[in-house]
Structures are given as C-alpha cells and as structure tokens.
Symmetry: D3
Subunit: 165 residues, 6 copies
C-alpha cells in the first residue's frame, strides 16, 4: 500500500520526521509531499523545503519527496496511492484535520485518511512555533533536524544564553 | 416567536440551509440576516449573498432575508425578535459561538441564543472550505444549493475528473 | 410551539431553573419532564423531584412539570411537542448531548433539539456536584432553589463554618 | 502489513463495520479481535460477539475474527502484526484513545496505532447507545448490521411506532 | 517567589485584572509585563497600555508593570522570577497556552508556568472581543476597568441605547 | 505561601511526582494530601499511599504528606494554606478540574486553585491506567517510582516479555 503524507513543511520539524519514520514502517511506500499554504507567507521556498526533506529522509529507502499544488485527493490518485497520512498533536489539530478528512472522503470515497498520533515529546511542536522561537533568537536544538537548525540559525543567530549561563 | 439567524453566508451552504429549514419549523418567523465579516475579504457582494439566500429559501413562507451591519443584539430588537439562532458543527464552533452568546447576553439579557446542531452529514462544511475546494477546481455538488454551485463554477470551472473517470 | 425540557433533576439546580426560565420565554408552552436515569442510584424519588420542580416553577404560567420513562422522542410526540430543549455547560456536555441529539434525530427526524447555553455563573453546576458538596456538609446556598436547599440540609446538616469563621 | 482492530464489540455496530471495511482496504490482513471490557456487564457472550462479527465480515476475504484477553500489544505481536487500528468519532474518543495509544507505544515502541475517522453519519453511534435505545424499544435499523438487529429484537421487541404512525 | 504575568493587554480587561488580583495574593511579587503581539495591529501604544495597567493596579503594592519584547523565558530570568502566570478561560485557551508552556519548559526547564482559571463571569472576555464590541458602539461597562472604558469611548462613542430604552 | 496538592494517589505515579517536585520549587511549603475517592474501590489503603508518598518525597524538605476526608477547602484553611495545586494532563482533566475549581472558589473565594501542566512525557499517565496495565502483567518501569513498582509487582508479577524477547 502506498501512502501520501502532505504538509507545508515550512520547515520540517522533529515531529514531522517522527511521523514520517513511523508511517514508513506501516506502508510499503510513502510520498512526503510539500503543498504550499497560500494563506501564509512562506519562510522557505518550496524547493528548499523539498531539499531539506530529502536530506532528513535519506535513511528511509521507501520514502520519496515531492511537491504539488491544488486539491490533495486527485494528487493522491495520480501518484498511485490510496491513503493519506496525517499527524495529530493532542488536542490542537482535530477540527481542521477532521473536516479536511471528511471533505476529502466526499471528494473521493476510496481514498482513506489515517491519523498517527505525534509522540508526546513533540506534541507542542509546529513549524509556526519553531519559526516564532527561532526568529526571537531562541534555541531549537532537538526540535528540528540539524539541517533545518543550521538554516534557521543562518537567518536568525541564537541570542538566548540559556539557563545557568 | 420571531428569531434571527445571522451569518456572513459567503456563500450559503447546504449546512446553512439545513439550519434554516429546521429553525423555520421551530419559530413562527425567521429572519436570515447577512452580516458581512469585516475581517475577511468577501467572495460575493452582500447583495448577491442576499439574492442567493432569497432563492434557496423561496419555499419557506415564514422566512425572510435581510442584511445589516454593526452589533447583532440591537438589530435583533429592531426587527422585533428576541431569539438568535446559531448552528453548531461538532467541536469546531464552540469557543467563538459561546463567547459571542455570553457577550450578547451581557449586552441585552432578554435576547436569547439557541443552538441547533448541524446534521452530521454537513458537520465538516463551512463557507471557507467550500471556497477553498471550489477555487482548486473540486466538485461541491450536494454541499451547496444548486444556485450557489452555478455561481462558483462561473468563477472556477470544475477541473477534478472525480474517482474512476 | 411546545417544547420539552427533559432531565433527571435529582435535584433541580439553579442552573436548571435558569434554563427553564429562559426556555419559557422562547416557547409558548414548556413541559419539564423528569426522566429517571436508571444507571444512577437516585437521591430523591421521582415524585419528590416533580414536587420540587412544581414549586420552583410556580411563577411561570406556561410551564408544566411531568415525569416519564423510556425513549424521549415518542414522549415528545405524545405530549404534542416537536422541540427538545437541552442546556449546555461550557465544555462538559457536548459529547453526550450531541450524540443523543443525533440519535434522537435519527429516531424521529421531525423532532428538533435546541441547545441553550447555561449562564456563566452556573457553568460548573451539576446535580452530582451539588450532592457531593452537600453530602460533605458544604454550603450550597445560591446553587439550588431554597426548597431544594432545605431538603438537602435535612439529609445533611451544613458542617462547614465558612471562610473567616 | 497486518493490523489488529480491537474492541469489545458488544455488539458490533454499523460504525464498527465501516471502520473494518475501510481498514481492510488499507492493510493486507486485518484481525478483528474481541477484548471483553471487564468494567462493563456484557450483553452478549464473547463467543456470540465473535459469531456476529464473522457473519458481518464474511464478504471481506482478508479479515479474520479472533478474541483475546489481557494486554493488547503482546497480543498484536503474537499474531504477527505491528499496527493497531482504532476508530475515532468526532470529539468523543480522543482522551481515552490517545492515552491508550501513548501507553501502548511505551509498552512496545515498534507497534504503531493508526486512527481512522468514523464516517460522519455514524459519528454518534456506540454500542452503549445502541443498547440503551434498543432496550427502550427504539428502532435501530441501519445503525447495526441486520444480524445484530435481529438479536437485539429477540431481547427487546420494538415498541416505538415511529413518526407519523 | 516572584512571578511574571505576560500579555499584550491591548487593552487590559476585567478578566485580566481578576487574574492580577488573585496572582498578587499567591506570589510575593508579581510583574505584569506588556509583550506586544507583532501579528496583530495594536489599538493602544505599549506606553499607553503600561499606563492603564499602572492605574488599575495602583491598589496592589506587590505588583509592578513593565514592558518587553522577544522571548519570554530569558526575560523572566532577567527580572529574577521563576514563575510565569497565565489565565485560562474555559475551553478557549488550552491549545496555544499549553503549547507555549511546553515550549517554554523546553527553553528553560527551571521556569514554571502556572495557570489560574478566569472567574466564570469573565470567561468569555478577551481584548479582541472588547474592541469589536466597543468599535460597533456597544457598551462595555463592567467588562473593562473604568479608565479603559473612558479611553474606548473617546475612540468610539456608545451608540447602542440598550434594552428597553 | 503554603499550598496543598490533593489527590487519591492510588498509587502515586511519575506524573504526580513531577507535579510535586515542580510545585515544591514554586511554593514555600507544600502539603501532599491523600483524599480517598469514595466512588472507586481502592487498591492501596490510605496509610500505604501516605507511606509511599513519604518515601518518594523524602528528598524534598519543604514537602509534607497528610491524609484527610470531606470537603477540600475547609481542609486547606485548617492547615493554614490558601492555594490548591492541581495537575493538568493535556485535554483530559479540564472538565472535572475546572468545575471543581469554580465550586471551590464559590465555597471559599479566598482559596485559589493553580494548575501546573504535566510534563508531556507523562501526559497519558493516570493511576487507573497504571493499575490496568500492571494488573494485566505489563511493565510499568519509569511510569511509577521504584517503591510503587515493587508493590505493584508483588500484587501482579510482570508477565509480558517485552518486544524482541
């Protein structure tokens, strides 16, 4: 079974990577696809997001990275998949995710959405929060893959000395 | 008892129409009133929203359509009503709706808000989601009244061939 | 329009009375009906709950009190009503109430359920919490009508001296 | 990939069957396993629940039915699976299901839990609600598979004449 | 123990003041700190927000008012505090507040966040709702301190005559 | 400031201990008080719960352990405290905890309840879940303090061999 894990991944976080690694153990093939969110001003270009995703998933042979635009379910069909993977973080994602899942089921009843619960240590993470903290000079080590941390530090050097320093 | 069902209705969905039909069976007279949401760029002009609402409620003799601006509760009083009708969709609307209901009760303790639960098959619908799907070329048949579907297709032709085609 | 406000009312609280008074202003006639909850050991007999409800609603000419058993929707039909009134308390009642409302709609699509939001000062009240506090000797003045407070004090005298005493 | 869909299934509902049919399209093999809930007095014996599940899944060649007791994750390993399937119904199941999923991940980090959203028309269904309605003589046609409806009617004949009769 | 109560306070509401008064009884010293929210266009300048906060907390000798920018936890350290106070309003603030609290704990594990529940009569208040109502000419007496009400009325005179007038 | 952390602690978990350690850094003195829950059949006697709490808090000089019965707020007053500490675990505890906090505020307006968020790695833990897993032979290492784990293993030896064994 082939599955698609869509997102804006601006940038990919440790929580996203956790979902990717777990989904890659469940499904034969997993396509991680960058869908730009037109309602938000992006930090990284789609190409750079794809490049970072490729780097952090290099150790997963059954994972490929792609980008697309437009409706999700026709895309899922075009790449030969029938399953959409979404991560859920405790209480925060239900509303939007469930409404999208029901809408996608209406648009194509044979495409299924499965939800994987984000590991509890990443339950508070989001790309937006990462960007907010990094832009204020906070340290995001461990919250994003090293390649993303390097890129964020190029944009915003760490200013916060940290506890005890 | 006369009731007011306020909303931005940009555009009216099958979920809105479900609430209107059910509220029209509960109350002697129902005024469906377009209140533009100043925080969102509109898709349809207020006049067009009113016209679409008039067309889809033509079969309901005790329903009239109106538009207004400003605070809701003085409007409710001006039209001689004492009840506000709001639709609730599963978990998504509680916070905003409940805070508005308590604020409206503070502004005029004699105006009551009653909530009607959206039918489960429409629980995921919203005007925003309809616009997002339609703008990407997705099919919204059954999710909006036919007159709205025609108008949306004039703006964005359907591109998605659908499952099996 | 005639409406039914069902509940176990074991005993009626100030929050219930708030809903009754507000529903009595919305609907032409309101039947407040005690449905015993077979899953809970009752504190007061159904007859006593009815008597207390009659006493606290004596000032509301369009309210009558009744008791019944079994399914709610056939009862609503039998008394000539088409609307069920339920109170919602902030976040606590959604799940059970919404599932019951959808089930009742399935059992009889022409019976509507409307929800009224409990006033914020009663949002934490429930008959169970009242009984728990009263049984431990706590003061429930203002949380239940005086007749209920007297009956609870006969069962459990107030022991808590209160702050500052 | 082999998956396990555990539950008490007392009895199986149309919502359960919806999850089974969708999971059977996602996974190569699906084991539906009755785990009795020791905290609830059962309506049907485990053997009868298994028999009803076998009957309603006869059309699904990659589904088998089993029963077990004790901890879930060692069972999942014993049957050679690595995925647990759970259904989510709108807002009602999050807390218990998420805590169980995190606990199961702690007990065996290589067993994954995936969640499938119950179709919106079944979002209010539960075995408990079915039993409550059926025991009061209500009609549950369409809410349970026909074989379950027959068994429930043997226990409790339908008394409710229905709307319009 | 010294604590910091951060917020945008644009403007301070009766709900904020309730939290300040209660936190001032719990902690030896409380710093109320205006952090501008860069994502929202402000109504009042930071200096004016600070001035209004100073006026409404004049009766609280262990409360001081400050303003800052950037990350919260290094600020908490700089002022010699180790506790962050946040108000919770029923169901509306959980997601954002809990994710911020977990992120802040990651950024500095020795800084604790404590939550105080907003009094039920203020559970629906927010600075945004106050501004929305006031800008439409609604009366906000009792929802904000008198000094804030005067300032809001200078910007937007009350137009709503109120019920019964 | 002296604070009380009440609970049934049947038995104390790693999540409870996390809250105790953090509250002990915030308040001058902390009383951890076992209140038996009369609605649940206990696993450990109150005396044993107190003994286990004493052992696991021995390293915290400003923490004492007590037990009581009846209403919480008069107890808080009797021990000379004015603050109640409660732990919140993501989405699961809001309803009950918030209603109790509002009721306790009504019973004694000068006693404050503060909430501390459970660390994300313990967000799924509860004494009930620990007992359920342990009674089925599951391994609870790391989820309870060692003294509690020993006691649970005396009652129920570990049967689950664990992954890979």
């Amino acid at each position: 079974m082939k599955a698609v894990y869509p997102g804006s991944f601006d940038p990919v976080t440790a929580g996203h990577l956790d979902i990717i690694e777990r989904a890659a153990r469940i499904f034969d093939r997993l396509v991680v696809t960058v869908f730009p969110n037109p309602a938000k001003a992006p930090l990284f270009a789609v190409e750079e997001r794809v490049a970072m995703l490729r780097e952090v998933t290099r150790h997963l042979p059954n994972v490929e990275v792609d980008s697309s635009e437009g409706l999700l379910v026709p895309y899922v069909r075009r790449v030969g998949a029938r399953v959409i993977v979404k991560g859920l973080r405790a209480m925060s994602d239900f509303d939007y995710e469930f409404r999208m899942a029901l809408m996608n089921k209406k648009l194509d009843p044979e495409v299924e959405t499965v939800f994987i619960l984000t590991s509890s240590q990443y339950s508070y993470l989001s790309s937006s929060l990462i960007k907010e903290v990094a832009s204020l000079g906070g340290c995001v080590t461990g919250l994003v893959p090293p390649v993303v941390e390097r890129r964020l530090r190029e944009l915003w050097p760490v200013q916060e000395p940290g506890p005890g320093s």
